[in-house]
Symmetry: C2
Subunit: 324 residues, 2 copies
């Protein structure tokens, strides 16, 4: 470990979250701002710097005393820090790592958000865990990361780990990526929106959901609202979430069959809100779909321990790793 | 490379094939026998030793002058050489590596047949290839192997790479493993048998296949017969093989999406016989199902170069690697 304090930066389509943390994951300060991607790449970069400075103030440290920064963003990231394609941010091939290195004046390491989220679980949640760790993050989309003996698996073009776009239903539902039958089309808020519209709008089934919605409508129901509707035993919500859990279990089962990991961690907004409710369903489906049974028995499927801080703290662990 | 000559042993449900080869893959001698698994583990071991001695005689060398032996077998193999479960051989937890080490009197390294088949492509077919290589072998079943920066990916319990049992159709066709919708249930001779029975027996479609069959019947049509029926433009055969190719492309696309490999090689009996005919269909399907498109463009899908010798030569490369 490199020692000292790090900024961990989580850039998402809605918000920027920053933690100031030590190399063992202790959080000394934090800050959060809306990301406002409509202001363009430079606008978002300026807001990141402001958020880092606010987090430094919260921690009572000067930015210049930080050792390095780690950044997680919703895009494949090349080794030189280029963000290849962040649909939610409107970015194509932007120099994310370089831009923040220059603006923050410190070593800065950018990676895909789900990759660093998985890396954070590896480094902080169970620091003695070795071998293969798979992370699945169910939020607006379905992202994944693979850490193999302490290294993020990037594949030969830095684009590996796109678990959400593995085909689980040939000729299945349309996915936002343009393909059909992707895991993300079933196990994500996008998949839930598809179910909600079918049940509530087309089939006119009764549901408490419409009365709870804010400006996101059925297209992007907040995780907290999903939880409320689940707790009110809303059948439309429960059927949709059970199906999402079943498909996430198919995805987890397939990754166990292929990679024989020790642990699969489940994170992301939907899991943060409804993890205890969905975990048994996901485990049951993974057990049904994994082969051979010895692989399933030797893999544990758990909720991510870092919760909402997964990406920001993972970015701290990743920056520390890059310097070591 | 360790230097000297190696025995490469391919143990299958039907036959044992042995090559005597140098560490750069040059074959000096070979032999082949039926494996006769009904004679039990010791019976098969005795036949392996006889086949090795015949191959040595063919090469004009004494067994005692060999550096080491590599063994590929249709089972997950633990690091200590235990074959966990070889359904075709009737083996459960047999000490394969140790038994042959004692009987052959030389260092002997056992591995899963598709793992060494992929390793052989890595080591001999394109020896300067680096990064990630995925092998898919379509024969009686559908096996796979992953070589990552020169090392076979085994996962945390030596059971990784079971590509054929990833679920591609939820609630789909029954698979021999007891699950449903496995890739192997679509892209293998077992999958073809399912199609043939449905078309010829249930739907009574005309086909040249029944007139060509030997004792295997529709359950295990020889690859050479598949090829003859394809060349005679038999529609039942072509429809079934096109579907098998489409699903193999889904599997290849999913592995490209997840692992971002440089190369996917396609081998096994069906591909050895019909590779030129099926390759364009597999590529088209993989292109349709892989994400993001940059990953597909940077991966090439090719026929395995070592053909029928893939496992035996791969076992040579693997033994050499273990000694180095």
């Amino acid at each position: 470990m490199a020692g000292g304090l790090f900024a961990g930066i989580d850039i998402g389509g809605t918000k920027i979250s920053v933690v100031i943390a030590s190399d063992d994951g202790r959080v000394l300060g934090r800050s959060r701002r809306k990301s406002k991607p409509e202001r363009g790449f430079d606008g978002v970069m300026a807001r990141v710097v402001e958020t880092v400075d606010e987090a430094c103030a919260d921690a009572g440290v000067a930015r210049a005393t930080l050792t390095a920064a780690g950044v997680g963003a919703p895009s494949p990231i090349l080794p030189d820090g280029t963000a290849v394609s962040a649909v939610n941010m409107g970015w194509t091939n932007v120099p994310l790592g370089q831009a923040l290195r220059e603006r923050l004046g410190m070593p800065t390491f950018a990676e895909n958000d789900c990759n660093v989220g998985t890396y954070g679980e590896y480094a902080f949640a169970k620091p003695r865990r070795r071998g293969t760790l798979v992370g699945l993050f169910m939020g607006t989309g379905l992202g994944g990361g693979i850490v193999l003996n302490g290294t993020i698996l990037r594949g030969d073009n830095a684009l590996a780990g796109e678990v959400g776009h593995m085909t689980v239903v040939p000729d299945g539902r349309p996915c936002v990526c343009g393909k059909r039958g992707c895991l993300e089309a079933y196990s994500s808020k996008t998949g839930l929106a598809y179910e909600f519209k079918e049940a509530i709008v087309l089939q006119r089934k009764p549901s408490v959901l419409p009365s709870m919605l804010d400006e996101g409508g059925l297209d992007n129901v907040k995780s907290s609202i999903l939880r409320r509707a689940w707790e009110e035993k809303d059948e439309v919500t429960r059927v949709a979430l059970r199906r999402a859990a079943r498909y996430l279990g198919i995805g987890a089962g397939n990754l166990i069959t292929l990679l024989a990991p020790t642990t699969v961690v489940l994170g992301g907004g939907v899991m943060d809100a409804l993890g205890e409710q969905l975990l048994p369903l996901i485990r049951e489906s993974a057990s049904e779909h994994a082969f051979p049974s010895a692989s399933f028995r030797s893999a544990s499927i758990e909720l991510a321990a870092l919760g909402d801080d997964a990406v920001a703290l993972g970015a701290v662990a990743y920056a520390d790793h890059c310097l070591s």
